[in-house]
C-alpha cells in the first residue's frame, strides 16, 4: 500500500498509517472526487456563463448611463 504513496512520507510510517487509515483513505478519495466534482461543476457554471447576455442588462446599463449623464447635471 505504501508504494502508492511515495510522495507522502507520512504513509511510510506503518504505525501512524494503521492509526489513520480512514483519514488517509478519505483524503485520497477526496482527490478523485474533487476532480470529478470540479469538472462537472465548472461545466454547469460555464454553461450559464456562456449564454448571450440578455437584453435586459444592456437596457439596464443604458438606463444607468443616462441617469448618470442626464440626471442631476
Amino acid at each position: 500500500m505504501a508504494k502508492d504513496h511515495k510522495d507522502k512520507p507520512d504513509d511510510m510510517n506503518v504505525a501512524s498509517d494503521a492509526a489513520s487509515v480512514g483519514d488517509g483513505r478519505s483524503r485520497r478519495l477526496d482527490k478523485s472526487v474533487q476532480t470529478a466534482i470540479g469538472t462537472r461543476l465548472r461545466a454547469y457554471y460555464d454553461e450559464v456563463a456562456r449564454e448571450t447576455i440578455p437584453d435586459r442588462f444592456v437596457e439596464l446599463l443604458k438606463q444607468l448611463d443616462s441617469k448618470d449623464t442626464g440626471g442631476k447635471a
Binding site: L29, D30, A36, L41, Y44, A49, F57, L60
Partner: protein, 184 residues
Amino acid sequence: MKVSDEFRDGLIEAIPSLRAFAFSLIGRPDRADDLVQETLTKAWAHHQSFTPGTKLKAWLYTILRNEFYSQMRKKGREVEDVDGAYSRNLAVHPEQLGHLDMNDMNRALGKLAADQREALILVAASGFSYEEAAEICGVAVGTIKSRVNRARNRLAETLGVAGETDYGPDATSEAAIAHTVLHK
C-alpha cells in the same frame, strides 16, 4: 461622481459570471437574473466605495451574495423551499438546462445547505481562492475550507460520483463493468 468607463466595462465583463453565480445559488434563471440586475444597480450606485485596483469581480460577488441573503431573509419561508424552486425551474426552462448533467447538478446543488453551496461554487466553479471566498462570505478561511469539503462530499454522494467502491482497485474494474453495461 460619474462612473468611469473602466468601472462600466468591468461591470459588463462580469455579467456572464455573475449570472452563473446567481443561477447556481438560486437554481432559477428568472430569479437569478433579477438578482444580477439588483447587483448591477447597487454596484453602480455605490461605485465610489469600490477601491480601484482591487478585484472588481470579488466586490460584485460580495454585493450579489449580500443581496441574495437579504432577499432570503425578507422572503423567509418562500425561499426556504430551495428544493422545490430547483425542480420548478427544470419545468420552466428545459431548453436552458439542455442535458441531464445540468439538471442533475442543479438538483444536487439545491440539496446543499446555502452556506456550503456558496462556498463550493466560489472555490470550485468561480475560481476564487479560499482566502478570497472567505472574504466574500465574511468568514474565516478554515470555515470556507470545511464548508467546501462538506459540500463536495455531499455533492459526490448525491451525484453518485464516488462511493465505497472507489476505495480499492476494484473501483476500476467496477467502473469498467458499469461502462460496458451502460454502452451495450
